[in-house]
Amino acid sequence: MLTYLLKRISTLFLSLWIISVCLFFLQKNASVDLVMLQNKARSNGSFYVHPLAAEKVYRAEAVRLNSDKPLFYFSMQPAMFPDTFYKVQYPEAIKVQKRLLLATGDWALVQNYFQALTAFYEKVAQTENGQVSIFWKQQLLEMANTSDLSVVKTACKASDEMREPFIEELRKLEGLLNRLSYQTPSFFSWLPSPGWNGFDNQFHNWFSKIIYGDIGTSSRDGRPVMDKLKEAIPWTLWVNGLAIILAYMFAMPVGILMAILPKSRWLRWTNNILLALYALPAFWVGSLLLFQATLPEYGFSFFSISGWSNLQQKGGFLSQPIPFLLQLSLPVFCMAYGLAAYLTSYMQSTFSKVLKEPYMLFAKTKGISKARLYFIHALPNALLPQIVFVAGIIPALITGSVVIEVIFNVPGMGRLFIDSILSQDWTTVYSFVLLVSVLTAAGLILSDILLVVTDPRIRLTRENKNE
């Protein structure tokens, strides 16, 4: 048992590690221009970096964000890439340099070209207005934004008079451009050059922070993701917890009743109704309820879907339980009915299975009263699988509550998730996915453990045999 558990937990950690690697790379792949985004947020949307200064600004930011390091423990790049390629930080520069490098295969040449380009732009910026027409200067400076080769080419082909103040720089650029357009990477420079980056890399730093509970800050507003989650989690817990409790309150009596009663047409119909309830999409019922129960025209305006934060500020459940529960009632109902239907048929099947056990027959022949038979002998045995079931179902509930929270405006985790996606706040999104997958994995393990703890007959031997 213990070895099985240890094995199970170790593979679980391995798979969680794999997930976090994938999520890390997705996050890196997805991140919009972080520096631009954060600076824009800080300066109310009026942030502009001149391309000449960009590399410097971005490098300073990268040090602050800890992203001036290699991505992973090891790297596999084509041999033509330098080991220090990750040090280039300005996204536009990365794009152009990568493209040039893949086209020419000569890193020194690409770097020379970029230095020449920078020198050229500095020269243009320094020229006094009398030396060159303002329009032309403006055009040249704007070219710095594009870092497009063809634009530079046209500048090189301008008339002598126009090129006069910076003719030297332009000649140098032209020479380098010619070399760039003739060179192609050799066949062998495509071979991978594996490299070991050591432990001081971005993934390692990110992952070790996560282990200590720091899951990063939002790339939108700079707030710690944990704070955002802390605000959202109670709402999701309220909705899901109430839904589970309600569902069980319905499922227990009805399921037992259905198991006890003799088979009849009535029972078949109830089964069908339960199946229909289970198949009824919650978000459909939610959106139907939304207009039926919240618009004053239909007479049910006492449910409202706004004013959640108001409710929270006033102290939540303890200070004003009735408005609180009323507000939660619609989302909870939408979450609960499908679960209740599923749990009822589950309860029915487990209870009728228990009723068929030999010990129940024995108890019956002993002449025990029916109430004693059902509630003392059958019920505890039928309840065990139900307890196990709850642990496994919580993650599925969180998934289900995403759409419900969006419909009813509940400021819970699902809403937070959708809002973060819509505002491209990838740090929050992926920290969130990681958190949910840890929860799911923990739920699965917990239900396994509960299964063994509650039923000593299970030794998990069959799975052991095949491992």
Binding site: L26, M76, F283, I418
Partner: protein, 382 residues
């Protein structure tokens, strides 16, 4: 029996929906000539039939036909009916020329016919469900079968080959990645990929030397399954789809398949584990029948019984996921008309009940009948 009728109706709507709800008339006489616009579309595209210029303006509804036979629902899902803009209820007074051309399920905010979009929804839901589940089925049966048949102790390889395989796989991933980076246009990378594949085949077909070890195939595949299962399906989709630059239906289908294969694979693995130890399989192995033949002809047919049940449930799950995506408006290609996207409009206009009732009803009926079918299959198997 009733289920069969229902499913054939759904299939019919999915396949012929565009001929039922279309703004192009079935038959029309225009400027003295007879046309069959609905049926002629592919021929016009091929250039075999020429249409008058008026037909090419997509103004089908207002042309002065001499004679015309329209389709049952004379609107395409995309048709904007300017006379009935802004959420006309099915029961309200509608501004249509003929009573038959009413919007039986109302219109949405920009005047599109809800019934036409509703019929289009069948095709979308069914194609996403069927395609993703068949991809997931193939992947799941393959991986589950591999894990179940070989387990951790039956896939023997000489040690040097096992190490080489690891090395080779890393290289393969590198080359495929490079092909993607350069869009497959770089000739030398394609040559390198070819060389790498050739090396793999050569080394793999070399004779076995020295000791052999068993590769833990089952452990590896179970690890992958566990990792994918730990991410709830909707989160997986919602976190991945926005990253794709121009998401299309293809991406949605592939991603749903990537989520759904694990359930099928787990079941197939368990069935293979059970069946491979039965006597008739051992007899077949003693007869020297090849492993693939044993799996395909002797194990799989016996394992499929319970796999069909998960197909039914996964199908329902895929349709629901598609509806969620449309409803949340994330990840589906822009402008796609689906049940989810119709229901999404209710969020802005809570009083437009017809935009919620009909699409939801379709989803509910399909889910319900799939559950029913799953139940029936279950009772058949047991």
């Amino acid at each position: 029996m009733k289920l069969k009728i229902f499913f054939s109706l759904v299939l019919f709507l999915a396949v012929f929906g565009d001929w039922i709800a279309n703004e192009k008339p079935v038959y029309c006489q225009y400027q003295g000539k007879a046309y069959f616009p609905l049926l002629e579309v592919p021929f016009v595209k091929l250039g075999w039939i020429n249409w008058p210029v008026d037909f090419q303006n997509d103004n089908w509804r207002n042309l002065p036909y001499e004679k015309v036979i329209k389709t049952l629902v004379p609107y395409s899902p995309e048709t904007i009916d300017r006379n009935n803009l802004g959420l006309k209820s099915p029961f309200s007074v509608q501004n249509t020329k003929v009573f038959w051309e009413r919007h039986w399920m109302g219109t949405d905010r920009i005047g599109r016919d809800v019934l036409a979009g509703w019929i289009r929804g069948f095709r979308l839901a069914l194609s996403i469900g069927l395609l993703s589940i068949s991809i997931a089925g193939i992947l799941g049966i393959f991986m589950g079968g591999l894990a179940g048949f070989y387990g951790n102790d039956r896939f023997h390889l000489p040690i040097y080959k096992a190490f080489f395989l690891l090395f080779w796989l890393v290289g393969l991933i590198y080359w495929i990645f490079q092909v993607f980076v350069t869009n497959g246009s770089n000739f030398s990378i394609l040559i390198w990929l070819g060389i790498w594949l050739l090396i793999g085949v050569l080394v793999y077909s070399m004779p076995a030397m020295g000791k052999s070890i068993a590769l833990p195939v089952d452990w590896l595949i179970s690890l992958i399954i566990q990792a994918i299962d730990a991410i709830p399906a909707l989160f997986f989709l919602l976190a991945l789809l926005p990253l794709i630059k121009n998401p299309g239906l293809f991406h949605v289908i592939i991603l749903i398949a990537l989520i759904r294969w694990t359930g099928i694979a787990r079941l197939v693995r368990a069935e293979f584990l059970r069946i491979r130890d039965l006597e008739y399989i051992q007899a077949a192995q003693l007869l020297g029948i090849k492993n693939f033949h044993i799996c395909w002809k002797h194990i799989l047919p016996n394992a499929m019984g319970s796999v069909w049940i998960t197909f039914a449930y996964s199908f329902a799950g895929a349709i629901l996921l598609e509806a969620y995506l449309g409803y949340l408006g994330i990840g589906m290609p822009a402008g796609t008309i689906s049940w989810g996207s119709q229901m999404q409009q209710v969020r802005e206009n809570p009083a437009a009940w017809w935009l919620a009732v009909f699409p939801g009803l379709a989803i509910f009926l399909i889910l319900f009948s799939l559950q029913k079918m799953g139940e029936k299959l279950e009772s058949k198997v047991s």
